[in-house]
Amino acid sequence: MEITGVSSLNSVLKQMDISTPAEAQGKFSTFLKDSINKVNNAQIESDKVTEKMINGENVDLHTVMITSQKASILLDTTIQVRNKAVEAYQEIMRMQV
């Protein structure tokens, strides 16, 4: 595999078709919203299957476990992203001006 050096930030931004910080922020916020929706949908899916199981419908036990695990992994991922974001924010707030 060919390994190339890390190109400068400007070229990366150009590749992503972002010119202003406002645009970048907008893209990030929609991305974040979409991700959180995905996590929420996973939780809802898990709730649905669990309820089906409790109501005695024909649902495999492992389906219930797997959907709940998926929801749990997605939630953990979200928490990690949030931690990173808060960490970055606090780092900037601690900055001496």
Binding site: D60, I66, Q69
Partner: protein, 148 residues
């Protein structure tokens, strides 16, 4: 993101179905009245599952065509449940309600020992797939620890 987990889920579902079929075979090990054919009772016939690779689907084919690479596979499914055509056991038991004129009774072609072996195999396969699932999950959880 969850492709591996979904694949494992199909395997677990298949093994569960296999287990259900084994349960049916074991439950009917002495059933002399499986179904009525031309006014006569025929004993229960042993059932067997046929496992089949899950259809890759259109998106997978498109991906292969576009990237010139093969897909990781979509898992497994039970293609069909077939009947075992081995002949019935003829057991001498003149007292039996379903005995013929010579005193022989046709018993199901289910061998309890063979069913036990199948049962162990299904259980172990299920366990193995659960292990794969846990390993897959473990990998993702480890990935979340990157940079901690």
């Amino acid at each position: 993101m969850f492709h591996g987990l979904n694949t494992t889920a199909t395997a677990l579902t298949s093994q569960r179905l296999r287990m259900d079929v084994i349960s049916s075979n074991m439950a009917n090990v002495d059933t002399t009245r499986g179904k009525l054919v031309d006014g006569e009772w025929v004993p229960y016939t042993r059932k067997q599952v046929v496992l089949q690779q899950k259809d890759p689907g259109f998106s997978s084919f498109l991906n292969i065509a576009m990237n010139n690479s093969s897909s990781p596979g979509q898992g497994v499914k039970v293609g069909k449940i077939v009947k075992d055509d081995t002949p019935f056991d003829m057991v001498y038991d003149p007292e039996h309600a379903d005995a013929n004129e010579d005193g022989y009774v046709a018993m199901p072609n289910v061998d309890p020992l063979r069913e036990m072996v199948d049962l162990m195999s299904a259980t172990r396969s299920y366990e193995a797939n659960v292990t794969v699932f846990n390993a897959s999950k473990g990998m993702m959880m480890k990935a979340l620890e990157i940079g901690k």
